[in-house]
Each structure stands twice: as structure tokens, then as C-alpha cells.
């Protein structure tokens, strides 16, 4: 709908639609069936720090308008061995940013002869988003483990902000679980408590948000490396049956 309705307004989706709209003339020439909706990972992404590492999670749906293009997407993209980014917003934009930053970090680690810090990876992502802020639609979370500061989560939302947070959410589905976070997150949770928190949050968002769905992909990053867990539909925790 063209009218801004605050209850259902989703900034990312709306801007995405405007940016990639065909010119007004094309609208009359191209038949409605062929007018494409942009591909977005309208999504739910969650990242939380615990003592010794980070736990990150995302849903697995990529949609173009209402069509579900991919039911089992992987939105947890490695930037280095122990730093991951979580992608939300335009699928093309976030994939491009992840590719460029992976190259930059690879080059950097060759120069410095040691793995890059999480903050540096987050800054590379932030720099790209800020530089192309008028063109990109990318909200990303960078999370990982390094020797200096342990597990860290950095949020790099739409305009090009960089901020470290102990726990953060992103994507269109995150709006439904901020309340859940405020109620259920406590500092210094154990690894298992954080895992349950992430999984439950994603499940709740999947249930309510149309742009999130599929299964939950979770990764645990600590000094020993990365452990990836895919929780399929039947194994998601039971939430209130609407």
C-alpha cells in the first residue's frame, strides 16, 4: 500500500520497493505478471555474546514479494574462519558486501600475518554500507571471536552505523521479538541458555513474520572454531499456537 501505515510499516521492504521500481512509463508497458519484486532476505537474524564466544542464528527464507525463492537459505556467511556476518535486506547487496569484505580481510590477514579482529571486519562492512548508503539496502550483523577481546557482536544497520552490543536483532522479523528479548535476555547467560534464547527468538519471529520462515540455522563461534547447527521445522521449539 502506498499509504504509510505505522503499524505495518517495514522500512527495509518499503525502501527496497521504491528504489528498484521501474520508471512510471515501464509500468504501463510491462505486463503486471512480468514486473518483478526485488529479492530480499526479509528475515530474522539474532546474535548474542556469551563468555567465551558468540551464538548467531537466522531463519532460512528468501522471498521476492510473496514468492519464496529459497526455503533453505544460508544467511550466516563466513567472512573469515572465526568471523561471520548475518545478512538482512536486499539479497544482492548483502552478498556483494560479504564478498568484498571477505577479500579485504583475506588481504589484511596476509599483511598482518594474523587473523583480523572482529571490530576490523565490522568496520569494513560498515564502511561499505556508509559509502553506498543511498544505493544499498543492507542491515548486517558481524559477530565472531578473536584473541584480543573474545566473543563480540557488532551491529551495522541501514545508514552505516557501527555499534557493539551484547545482544542484537535484525531483519523484518526482529520487530516481533524485541519484546521477547527485553523480557528474556539477561547478561552473563551460559552457552546453552544463549542457544535456547536464540532458537526460541527465531521460532517466534518465523511464526509471526511473513518474510521469515523455513528452518533455523545457528552457529556457535568460540576459540575452538565454528559449530553449525541446522534446526529443521519439526524440531523447532513449540510456541503458543495462534
Amino acid at each position: 500500500m502506498d499509504v504509510l501505515n505505522p503499524m505495518t510499516y517495514d522500512a527495509e521492504e518499503d525502501q527496497l520497493r521504491d528504489r528498484t521500481k521501474y520508471s512510471q512509463m515501464d509500468k504501463h508497458i510491462i505486463p503486471v505478471e512480468f514486473q518483478q519484486q526485488p529479492v530480499s532476505t526479509g528475515t530474522t537474524i539474532v546474535a548474542v555474546e556469551y563468555d567465551g564466544g558468540v551464538i548467531i542464528g537466522a531463519d532460512t527464507r528468501t522471498s521476492a514479494g510473496t514468492f519464496v525463492m529459497n526455503r533453505f537459505t544460508d544467511k550466516l556467511t563466513p567472512l573469515t574462519d572465526q568471523i561471520f556476518c548475518l545478512r538482512s535486506g536486499s539479497a544482492a547487496d548483502t552478498q556483494a558486501i560479504a564478498q568484498v569484505v571477505t577479500y579485504q580481510l583475506d588481504f589484511l590477514s596476509a599483511e598482518m600475518n594474523e587473523p583480523p579482529l572482529v571490530r576490523i571486519a565490522a568496520n569494513c562492512v560498515r564502511r561499505m554500507i556508509y559509502q553506498y548508503r543511498d544505493d544499498f539496502l543492507a542491515g548486517m550483523i558481524v559477530a565472531g571471536w578473536d584473541k584480543k577481546l573474545g566473543g563480540q557482536v557488532y551491529s551495522c544497520p541501514l545508514g552505516g552505523l557501527l555499534v557493539r552490543q551484547p545482544v542484537t536483532l535484525g531483519g523484518s522479523g526482529s520487530t516481533y521479538i524485541w519484546g521477547y528479548l527485553d523480557n528474556n535476555y539477561r547478561p552473563n547467560m551460559t552457552k546453552d541458555e544463549c542457544y535456547d534464547f536464540v532458537l526460541k527468538g527465531i521460532t517466534l519471529a518465523i511464526t509471526r513474520d511473513g518474510s521469515s520462515g523455513g528452518c533455523a540455522r545457528i552457529a556457535i563461534i568460540n576459540k575452538d572454531g565454528v559449530e553449525r547447527i541446522d534446526v529443521l521445522g519439526n524440531d523447532l521449539p513449540k510456541v503458543f499456537d495462534l
Binding site: T8, G65, D241, L242
Partner: protein, 207 residues
Amino acid sequence: MGDDILSYNGGVALAMKGKECIAIACDKRYGVQNRTIATNFTKIFQYSDHCFVAFCGLATDVQTVSERLKFRTNLYELREQRKLKPNVLYNMLTNLLYERRFGPYFVFALVVGLDPKTGETFVYDSDNIGAISDNVNLVTVGTASEYIFGLGELFFKPNMNADELFEATSQALLNGVDRDSASGWGAVVYVIEKDKITVRELKGRQD
């Protein structure tokens, strides 16, 4: 979800014909663009012992058109002192929709019916301005209709019995809505035979 009025609330329905039985099914989602608000919004309404209609599209029009049609069918039954036949119901519906030809309701409809004496089956669909269709084997309406059509054509066989028909309809619906973010969150399937009507609620993926 875009500006499309027909995908503002989402939803989907399908109907299939069998041997002296018909199945009609719909999803249960009520949402506003991305957000799912309820999962108990069924889109199938009963107008006579063996006549059912499913409406898909803008939720307010689903409610309004179903109620306005009920008004007309009630009057028919009072005046004629007999129950509606499916083809009569279908013609009443298309007439109701065409009355609003230049300011239409945003609902697409499916009408199904069975004649309990002869076992003759009726499955029709209509667009939002009352276009009349033939009595066909398989119909689908809604945001996921293209995906369900493909599966429906695959699973459909002529002259299926009630159990096979239920399986075919449910599988086509449940798997089709997996590719649509505006439908799903459970389903209801009605299987209508000469002597009984079976209603089953399916759980499905809640995403």
C-alpha cells in the same frame, strides 16, 4: 508484499473433484502484508447441505461477500421453500459480483456442490467480477494459486474416492503454500460425499 490489493491479506483455497465426492480446502492465515495476526481465519462457507463456497482476497470483502450471499440465499430458501442447488448458488454469486462491475469486490471465489440423489459433482470458479467458468476438475484461487495448480495437476486423477481425494487435495495445498509467504499457517479440508461431510484440520508449517 507490494501494492497488490489481492495479496494484502493473503490466503488460498482449492477444490478438486472425485467420484461422487468433492474436496474443498483453504489455509487459515489472516495477516496484514508481512504480519500474521491470526491463524483461525477460514475462507470456506456453507450455503446448503452440500454447497460450499470459498472466497480468497481482501479479508474485509471475504466477510462482506459471504454475508451478502448468505442474505440472498436465505431469501431464496424462504421464497422457494427448498434448498439451493450448486449451479443456482453459482449464478447468484456471479450476479452479485457483476453488480459491482466498475467498483468490484476484491475476492476470487470457488463454488463446489454435490447433488445427493444423483451424485453429480459441481466445481466452479469465478474472478472478482463474476466471470463464469465451466464445471471443471480442479480450481485454485489466492496468492499461492499458481504453485498449487502445478501440484494439483500432478496429484489429480479422474474418479478418485474420498480418501485419495483428501490426500491429493491436502498435499497440493500444504506443499503449494510453502512457496508463498502470504498463505499457510494451517489448513482446513472439507470432503463432501453423498451421505456425509468430513472436516479435517491440518497443522502444516507455521511459517
